[in-house]
C-alpha cells in the first residue's frame, strides 16, 4: 500500500515540475484540440460513448462518434468529459477569508442597492476561486449579499488576469432577499432563541412593492436628477436582466412570485426554495425556474425528513421544473463540492445525467448563458474538462485536463503546491 502511494506521489511530483505558472491564465487557444475515446456527458441529459470532441478557437466544432480527430489529440480512453460546472449565487472573489473583515467585500451598507455591482470587486487572484478548478467548477455568478436588494451580480469564468477578462455576462441580474414571515428571536433582548413571527413582514413586503413601483415609474420618464438605485432596476423591467428572488417558505414563495408577476417582472428566478416542492404546480404555472439550496444542508425543521435537502432537487425536477443547484449560503471554499451536491441527488434516485444538468445545462439556461456555456454542443465555448472517473462522485472526480474557452487551464493551486512541497520535504515517503 505504502508503495502504491509512493508511486502516485512520485508521478504527481514529476508532473508538477513541468507545470509552472500556477494561477497564470492559460493562453488563447491556437491549436485545434481533439479529445478522443471519451465518455461525453453532454449536460443536456445525454451521454455519448466513444466520443470524439474537437474544439478550435475556443469553440466546440465537432462532437460525436466516428469523427476523425485533428490537431492535438488527447486520448481520453476510459475517461469522461464534462462541461464546466457553474456555481450560481456565490460571493467567490468577494471574500477571501471569512473571519478577516478586511478580506470581505460581499455586503454593502443599505437595503435597496441594486446599483452596487459585484463585478468590479471580483478578485481574479483569489486562492479560493483557484481551488474550484481541480474539481471542475469553472464558472460562477458573483453575487453581492445582504440587505433587501443586495446588488447586481455578474457571471465570470475562473481563469483571468482581471475582472474584465473574467466577464462572461456583466450585470446579469439583481438579487432580492424576500422578507421572511418568521425570524430568529433576539435572545439577548429576551426573545426566544428559535423562530418567532416577523410582525413586520407585511410592512417589509410593502416596502419592496413600493420600491419596484417607484423604480418602474422612474424608468418611464427618466428625470435629470439621476437616482442610481432606480436606474439600476431598468434592466429588470425591459427584460435585459433577471431578478433573483431568495425565498424558502411556502408562503413567502407564493407572495414573492405573485407580487413580482403583478408588477410585470417576468424574468425571475427563485433562489432557495426549501418548501418549493409543496407548490410545484404554482411554480410551473408561472414558469419560474429554481436555483434550489444545495443538498449538503440540514433539514430546516426537526420534523422534516432527514433526507429532504438531499432529495429536494429531485422533487422539483420530477415536477417538471427547470432546476439548478446553488450553495449561496455556504462558505466560498465549499463551492468546489458542487459536483457532489449533484451526486447526492443521484443517491435519491435521480438519473445521473439529470443530476449533472443541475450544475451545467440547467444552470446555464437559468442564468441566461446557455448560448455559449452549460453543455457540450457544437458552437458553444470549449469550457470543459476530462475526469478519470465519475465526476459527481468523490471517488471518480480526478481531473486530468481543464479548458476554459479552449484555453488550457492549470490544475495547480495554492493547495496542490503545498501538498507537493511537503511531500517533497518528506522525500515522497
Amino acid at each position: 500500500m505504502r508503495k502504491l502511494i509512493h508511486i502516485i506521489c512520485l508521478v504527481f511530483l514529476s508532473v508538477s515540475v513541468e507545470l509552472t505558472a500556477q494561477q497564470t491564465p492559460g493562453k488563447k487557444q491556437t491549436e485545434t484540440t481533439s479529445i478522443t475515446n471519451a465518455i461525453a456527458h453532454i449536460g443536456d441529459g445525454s451521454v455519448i460513448e466513444e466520443c470524439t470532441l474537437i474544439f478550435e478557437n475556443g469553440k466546440i466544432t465537432h462532437i460525436g462518434q466516428n469523427i476523425t480527430p485533428i490537431g492535438k489529440i488527447i486520448n481520453a480512453s476510459g475517461k469522461r468529459v464534462y462541461p464546466g460546472f457553474i456555481a450560481p449565487s456565490k460571493e467567490l472573489g468577494l471574500i477571501e477569508v471569512n473571519a478577516v473583515r478586511a478580506s470581505n467585500d460581499k455586503d454593502e451598507v443599505g437595503d435597496f442597492i441594486p446599483h452596487v455591482r459585484s463585478l468590479i470587486a471580483y478578485n481574479t487572484e483569489s486562492k479560493v476561486v483557484e481551488s474550484m478548478r481541480p474539481n471542475g467548477v469553472l464558472l460562477g455568478q458573483i453575487t453581492p449579499k445582504g440587505g433587501r436588494i443586495s446588488g447586481t451580480s455578474s457571471i465570470v469564468q475562473f481563469d483571468a488576469w482581471n475582472w474584465e477578462d473574467a466577464t462572461i455576462k456583466a450585470d446579469d441580474g439583481v438579487h432580492l432577499n424576500w422578507p421572511t414571515k418568521y425570524r430568529k428571536g433576539n435572545w439577548w433582548m429576551g426573545e426566544p432563541k428559535g423562530f418567532i413571527p416577523n410582525k413586520k413582514y407585511q410592512q417589509q413586503l410593502n416596502e419592496v412593492v413600493s420600491f419596484l413601483r417607484n423604480a418602474k415609474a422612474y424608468g418611464k420618464n427618466i428625470p435629470k436628477e439621476e437616482n442610481l438605485a432606480f436606474l439600476a432596476m431598468q434592466g429588470i423591467f425591459n427584460n435585459t436582466q433577471k431578478l433573483y428572488v431568495y425565498a424558502n417558505g411556502e408562503r413567502e414563495i407564493i407572495d414573492a412570485i405573485s407580487v413580482l408577476k403583478a408588477n410585470d417582472i417576468n424574468d425571475l428566478v427563485l433562489v432557495g426554495g426549501y418548501e418549493a416542492y409543496k407548490i410545484t404546480p404554482f411554480l410551473k404555472e408561472h414558469n419560474v425556474p429554481v436555483l434550489v439550496q444545495f443538498t449538503h444542508s440540514l433539514p430546516a425543521k426537526d420534523d422534516d425528513d432527514y433526507d429532504l435537502p438531499y432529495k429536494l432537487p429531485k422533487l422539483l425536477v420530477d415536477a417538471g421544473l427547470l432546476v439548478g443547484i446553488q450553495n449561496g449560503s455556504a462558505s466560498n471554499f465549499q463551492t468546489r463540492n458542487l459536483p457532489f451536491y449533484a451526486g447526492q441527488v443521484v443517491g435519491q434516485g435521480l438519473d445521473k445525467e439529470k443530476a449533472l444538468q443541475l450544475i451545467t445545462g440547467n444552470t446555464a439556461q437559468i442564468l441566461g448563458i446557455n448560448d455559449m456555456y452549460g453543455t457540450l454542443t457544437v458552437g458553444k465555448s470549449a469550457t470543459l474538462f476530462i475526469s478519470e472517473g465519475d465526476a459527481l462522485d468523490m471517488r471518480g472526480n480526478q481531473l486530468t485536463h481543464v479548458f476554459i474557452d479552449g484555453r488550457t487551464i492549470s490544475l495547480e493551486t495554492h493547495q496542490t503546491e503545498l501538498w507537493k512541497r511537503y511531500m517533497n520535504k518528506y522525500n515522497g515517503k
Binding site: G194, R251, K301, L418, Y422, Y426, K429
Partner: protein, 984 residues
C-alpha cells in the same frame, strides 16, 4: 379529657405570649381577647385524607384548638354555623417572591468581559450568595396578599430569585392585620439554589450550565475545607453556606433533566434537594422518581398554538405540540409514580389562572386528594413545617378556607380565607341564594323575572310576556336594588328588598313612576338549576397522545430491542487486516459480532439478505457537538472542571440524523473558547435512551484543549482575557501543568490540601490517565504543545482539526500523537489559509493515525463521503480511507477494543449501506448499535407517516380548543441551535 384540658391550657398560655403584651399601649387600655371561635356543621378537611362530615373546628388566638365531630364547645365561644359548607386548610406556596423585591435584569450589553469577582470577603464567584436573605428585603404588600388570599393561599415561602446560591427564604402568613411580628412564621426558612447566574452580577463565569454544575461542586468542597478551619482568609459566603446547611434546600431546576443534574450534586454532598420542576417530568418519570426528591410543580400548562394558518402551524415542532397535549398529565404521572409534589404559582402571570389549571390537571387524571396534598401537606412537609401549617390538626395555625362546596369545582365559591385566625372575606357567606324564576305583579302587569348566574353575583332578566325589559340590578349584603323601565313608556319602577332568609318569595318596597310607594311580592315559580357546559361534558376524557422515546418526532413508541441478526452474502468492510470480504455472512448475537464467514447458519436469527450491499462498522465521529446543551464554558481560560457528560441532550434530532448517516459513536467535545477546555463525553447514539445510557460505560477519559484564534478570542472583539497571543497560550499551559504538578505532589504527600476539581483533572493528564484532544491549526502551535507535553513528561493523544499537521507530520509521528482532521475545510479563518485537503493523506503517509471528523451536524451525517474525499485528495486507498472514519477514530479514542471494526467479539455497531460506503451515492439502510436497530430506512418511512398523522391530530385538537374559547398562543419554532466549536 385531661389531656385536652392540659393542651387547652397550654394553648391559652402561648396565645397570650403571642400578643406582644410588653408593647406600650397609648390609645386606650390594654385588653385581651381570648374568646374561641367555633365553626360547626361543616365538612372539614383536616388533612386531605382525614375528612369530617358535619364537623366542628375550634380556634383561638390564631390556632386550631380542636377539630372533630363531637366536641365540647367552650362557653366563651363565638359560634359560626357552616351547614353545607366546606373547610379546607389554606394553600401553601414554597416558591414565591411575595413581598421580596426581585433584582432586575440589566439590558444586554454584549459578551461579559469581567472575569474577576466584584466582592471582597465573599466567595470568589459573585453568583454564589448564600449570605443573601429574603428577610432583609421583606416588605408586606397587602394588595398582592389580597390577590393571593383570593386564590386560596395562606402561607408562602418567599426568596430572592437571583443567582446560583440565593440564600435563605422567609415564611410568611398572609395575615392582613397582625403586623410582621405575627405574619413572619420563619425568617430563615430554607436555602434556595439554581443553575442561573445573578442578573445583578457581571462576572463571566460560569457562562454555561456545565460551568454552573462545576461551580456548585467546587463550592461544596470549599465549604467543607473552610468549615475545617483551613482558610486563612474570611469568606462570608462559605460561612453562610455552612450556617445554612441544616435548612431545607430547594433547587430551581425548571426541567426534567436539570432536576436529575441537581439531584446528583445534592446526593454527592449529602443534600436531598426539593426541586422546582419544569412541567416536563412526565417524559422521564422513572429517572425523576429515582431522585427521591419532592417536587414543586408549576401550573403553567402551555396554551394551544393558534394553528388556523397552516403556514404558521408548520413552524411548530411535534415536540412542542405534544407538550401542549401531554403537560396537563404531568401531576397525575408524578402522583401515579408516588413522587410527592406541591404546586406553586411560580411561572403563572397571575394567581387567577391557578384554579383553572388545577382543575385541568384533575381533568387529566389527578385525584382531588393528591391535588389537595400538593397545596397543603406536601408543601408543609417540604418546608419542614408540618407541625405549624398544611393541616387543621390541633396546634396548627388557624389557616383555612370556607367554601360553598368542593374546592376543586369551577362553580364553588370561596367565602372566607382565614389566616392565623383572622377572617378575610372573599365572598359574603351570609348572602342568600336568590336564584330562580319569579312572577312580579306590579301596577296590574305581571312581569316574569329570571335570576341566574352565580349565587354571590347573580344576574337578572325581566320580561313582559316574551319581551326583555331594560333593568338595573344589584345584590349586596342581602339588599336587592332593582330598577326597570316599563316597556311602553319612560316610566321607571324602583324596587328594594332585604332578603332575610331562604324564603321562596321576595318582598319589599316598590316606588312607582308617579312617586307613590307600595309593597311588592315576587312569587317564586321555579328553582334555579345549574346548566352544565356542553363542551366540558364532551371532553370528559381528554385525548392524550402517547409519549415516545425520546418524546420528539422520530422517537420510538417502544424502545427497540436487541436482536440476533444474520447478514447474508454481503460485502464486509472489516476495517481490519482482513480487508474487504465479498460474499460474506455476519452474525450478530447478544449485541456482539458473533461470527464472520461463509454460509453461516444460526437458529432464531433474523436473516437479512444483504446481497449487493455493504456492511461496515459504524462510523465514529471524533469531534462533534450535537446532542449537547452547551458547548463552551468561556468564563475562564482553563475550565478542566467542566464535563460534557453533564449536559448531554439525548433528545437532539441530530442523533437520529447521524444514525441515518451511519454514525454510531462520537466524542462530544467541549468547544474551543479556552486553551484548557472541558472534559469530553464519548457517546453511542442510542436514540431513545437517557443521557446516562448514551455515555460509554468505563469511558476513556478525555479533555479538550485548544490553540489559536479561538482561544485568543481573535474574532470576538474582546481584548482583556489572557491569552491574546499564541505566546500567551503556551504560558497558560505551562502555568497550569506546573500548578497541577505541585498540587498532585502535595496531595500525594498526604498533607492537607484544598480539593480543586480543575487541578485534579489536569493532574490526571500528567499521570497519563486522561487524554488530550487538542483543537489546532498552525504548525507553530502544534509543535509548541508537543514540546510542553514532553517537558511535563506526557504525550498529547490527538490533535483535532490539525489542518497544518502535514507540515509537522514527522514530528507528530515522533511524538506519537494522532490526528483527526476535516477532509477539505479551509479559508474560513486566517489560521486556515494553508489548510489543504491532502492533509490527511500526507499525515497518513508519515505513519500518523488519521481520522476524519465533522465538528458539524451536517457533515457528521455524511462522514462516509468525507472519507471518500480522502481517496480523491492524495490518493489514499479506499480501504485505508474507510478506516479513517471507523477504526482510526476508535484508536484515537481508546475504544478500538470495543468498536471501529467488524471483528468477532466486538460490539455489534454496524451499518448496512446500499452502495460502496465511500460513494456519494451510498445510503445507510440500517444502523445498528449492540444488536439494536436504531435506524432503518423502512421504519423511517413509517415514522414520517406517523408524524404527519399525529401533527394533524394535534392540530385538530388545538383548533377545537380555540373554537371552544381556549386561550391560544402564536406559533413559534423552538429550535435547538446547531453548535460548533466556537458557539457560546
Amino acid at each position: 379529657m385531661k389531656m385536652r384540658l392540659l393542651s387547652l391550657c397550654l394553648l391559652w398560655c402561648s396565645g397570650s405570649l403571642f400578643a406582644q403584651d410588653y408593647f406600650p399601649e397609648n390609645d386606650g387600655v390594654k385588653s385581651k381577647n381570648n374568646n374561641y371561635t367555633v365553626f360547626t356543621n361543616a365538612k372539614i378537611y383536616v388533612t386531605p385524607n382525614q375528612v369530617i362530615d358535619k364537623g366542628t373546628l375550634v380556634i383561638q388566638n390564631g390556632k386550631v384548638v380542636q377539630v372533630g365531630r363531637s366536641i365540647n364547645i367552650p362557653k366563651n365561644a363565638v359560634k359560626v354555623d357552616l351547614a353545607g359548607k366546606f373547610i379546607y386548610p389554606s394553600f401553601i406556596d414554597v416558591f414565591s417572591s411575595f413581598g421580596v423585591e426581585q433584582p432586575k435584569k440589566k439590558p444586554y450589553s454584549g459578551r461579559p468581559d469581567q472575569y474577576n469577582s466584584s466582592r471582597e470577603g465573599y466567595y470568589w464567584n459573585d453568583h454564589i450568595m448564600p449570605e443573601n436573605s429574603a428577610n432583609s428585603k421583606f416588605k408586606y404588600d397587602d394588595k398582592i396578599a389580597k390577590e393571593l388570599r383570593k386564590a386560596g393561599f395562606g402561607v408562602l415561602n418567599s426568596h430572592i430569585q437571583d443567582g446560583i446560591v440565593r440564600g435563605t427564604g422567609i415564611l410568611i402568613a398572609l395575615n392582613a392585620s397582625g403586623g410582621d411580628a405575627k405574619r413572619i412564621v420563619d425568617d430563615k426558612s430554607a436555602q434556595y439554589l439554581s443553575f442561573t447566574k445573578s442578573v445583578t452580577k457581571e462576572q463571566a463565569y460560569p457562562t454555561s450550565l456545565m460551568g454552573a454544575l462545576a461551580l456548585l461542586r467546587q463550592m461544596y468542597a470549599d465549604a467543607k475545607w473552610y468549615a475545617q478551619g483551613n482558610s486563612e482568609t474570611k469568606d462570608r459566603s462559605l460561612e453562610a453556606l455552612n450556617a445554612n446547611k441544616a435548612l431545607v434546600q430547594i433547587f430551581e431546576a425548571k426541567d426534567k433533566d436539570n432536576a436529575i443534574r441537581a439531584d446528583k450534586i445534592g446526593d454527592a454532598n449529602g443534600f436531598q434537594y426539593a426541586i422546582l420542576g419544569g412541567g416536563n417530568e412526565y417524559e422521564n418519570i422513572d429517572e425523576i422518581k429515582a431522585t427521591n426528591a419532592k417536587f414543586i410543580l408549576p401550573l403553567n400548562f402551555p396554551k394551544a398554538y393558534d394553528v388556523s394558518n397552516p403556514y404558521d402551524a408548520n413552524y411548530i415542532t411535534l415536540e412542542d405540540m405534544r407538550h401542549w397535549n401531554q403537560a396537563p398529565t404531568n401531576p397525575k404521572t408524578l402522583a401515579d409514580s408516588g413522587v410527592p409534589f406541591s404546586f406553586t404559582l411560580n411561572g403563572l402571570k397571575s394567581p387567577n389562572a391557578f384554579k383553572a389549571n388545577i382543575i385541568k390537571a384533575i381533568k387529566h387524571g389527578l385525584s382531588k386528594t393528591d391535588a389537595l396534598k400538593a397545596l397543603t401537606t406536601v408543601p408543609a412537609s417540604i418546608l419542614g413545617k408540618s407541625n405549624q401549617i398544611g393541616s387543621l390538626e390541633t396546634g396548627r395555625f388557624a389557616n383555612f378556607l370556607i367554601t360553598s362546596g368542593d374546592v376543586f369545582e369551577t362553580s364553588t365559591i370561596l367565602y372566607e380565607n382565614w389566616v392565623q385566625g383572622n377572617k378575610n372575606i372573599i365572598n359574603d357567606i351570609s348572602q342568600k341564594d336568590i336564584r330562580g324564576s319569579y312572577t312580579l305583579p306590579i301596577a296590574g302587569i305581571n312581569y316574569s323575572i329570571d335570576i341566574s348566574g352565580t349565587a354571590n353575583k347573580p344576574k337578572i332578566k325581566i320580561k313582559k310576556d316574551t319581551t326583555v325589559i331594560k333593568s338595573k340590578f344589584s345584590y349586596k349584603n342581602n339588599w336587592i336594588t332593582l330598577s326597570f323601565t316599563a316597556e311602553d313608556s319612560e316610566k321607571k319602577y324602583r324596587l328594594t328588598s332585604l332578603i332575610k332568609s331562604s324564603l321562596d318569595n321576595i318582598t319589599g318596597k316598590a316606588v312607582l313612576p308617579n312617586g307613590s310607594e307600595s309593597g311588592f311580592t315576587a312569587t317564586k315559580t321555579a328553582s334555579f338549576t345549574e346548566k352544565e357546559k356542553i363542551t366540558e361534558k364532551a371532553d370528559v376524557f381528554p385525548t392524550i397522545v402517547p409519549v415516545t422515546f425520546p418524546n420528539v418526532g422520530y422517537g420510538f413508541k417502544t424502545k427497540p430491542k436487541q436482536e440476533t441478526l444474520l447478514f447474508k452474502n454481503t460485502t464486509v468492510w472489516t476495517s481490519e487486516k482482513e480487508g474487504v470480504l465479498k460474499g460474506t455472512d455476519v452474525l450478530i448475537k447478544n449485541g456482539k459480532i458473533n461470527k464472520i464467514g461463509i454460509n453461516i447458519k444460526a437458529n432464531g436469527a433474523k436473516i437479512i439478505d444483504a446481497t449487493g450491499k455493504h456492511l461496515t462498522a459504524g462510523i465514529i465521529d471524533e469531534h462533534t457537538h450535537i446532542a449537547a446543551l452547551t458547548v463552551n464554558e468561556a468564563g475562564h481560560n482553563s475550565t478542566a472542571e467542566v464535563k460534557m457528560e453533564d449536559i448531554v441532550d439525548p433528545e437532539h434530532i441530530g442523533i437520529y440524523r447521524d444514525l441515518a448517516g451511519g454514525v454510531t459513536s462520537a466524542q462530544l467535545l467541549h468547544g474551543s473558547a479556552n486553551p484548557i477546555g472541558g472534559r469530553s463525553a464519548i457517546l453511542k447514539f442510542k436514540w431513545g435512551e437517557t443521557a446516562d445510557k448514551l455515555i460509554y460505560t468505563n469511558s476513556p477519559k478525555f479533555i479538550k484543549f485548544a490553540l489559536g484564534e479561538n482561544v485568543k478570542q481573535s474574532n470576538w472583539g474582546s481584548f482583556s482575557r489572557f491569552p491574546q497571543t499564541r505566546m500567551g497560550v503556551e504560558q497558560v499551559f505551562i502555568n497550569y501543568f506546573q500548578m497541577a504538578k505541585e498540587y498532585d505532589a502535595l496531595k500525594k504527600s498526604k498533607k492537607p490540601y484544598r480539593y480543586d476539581e480543575e487541578m485534579e483533572v489536569i493532574a490526571e493528564i500528567l499521570n497519563g490517565e486522561r487524554f488530550i484532544s487538542c483543537h489546532s491549526y498552525v504548525q507553530s502551535e502544534i509543535n509548541m504543545l508537543m514540546k510542553v507535553a514532553e517537558k511535563f513528561d506526557f504525550k498529547v493523544n490527538t490533535f483535532t482539526h490539525i489542518l497544518e499537521g502535514y507540515k509537522v507530520a514527522d514530528k507528530m509521528k515522533t511524538h506519537g500523537v494522532g490526528a483527526s482532521t476535516f477532509s477539505d475545510w479551509w479559508a474560513y479563518k486566517y489560521e486556515v489559509n494553508d489548510a489543504i485537503p491532502h492533509n490527511a493523506a500526507i499525515m497518513q503517509s508519515q505513519g500518523v493515525t488519521v481520522a476524519i471528523n465533522s465538528d458539524d451536524a451536517e457533515m457528521s451525517r455524511r462522514l462516509n463521503q468525507e472519507a471518500g474525499k480522502i481517496v480523491k485528495y492524495g490518493g489514499v486507498s479506499e480501504e485505508e480511507a474507510w478506516k479513517m472514519v471507523t477504526i482510526n477514530p476508535a484508536q484515537l479514542l481508546h475504544i478500538d477494543n470495543r468498536v471501529g471494526s467488524i471483528k468477532v467479539g466486538k460490539d455489534a455497531d454496524v451499518v448496512l449501506w446500499s452502495h460502496n460506503p465511500l460513494s456519494v451515492y451510498a445510503k445507510a439502510e440500517k444502523t445498528i448499535i449492540e444488536g439494536v436497530t436504531y435506524f432503518d430506512l423502512e421504519a423511517d418511512k413509517k415514522k414520517r407517516d406517523a408524524i404527519k398523522l399525529e401533527r394533524n391530530q394535534l392540530i385538530n385538537l388545538m383548533l377545537k380548543e380555540k373554537a371552544n374559547g381556549g386561550a391560544v398562543q402564536t406559533p413559534k419554532q423552538s429550535k435547538k441551535e446547531q453548535l460548533h466549536c466556537d458557539s457560546l
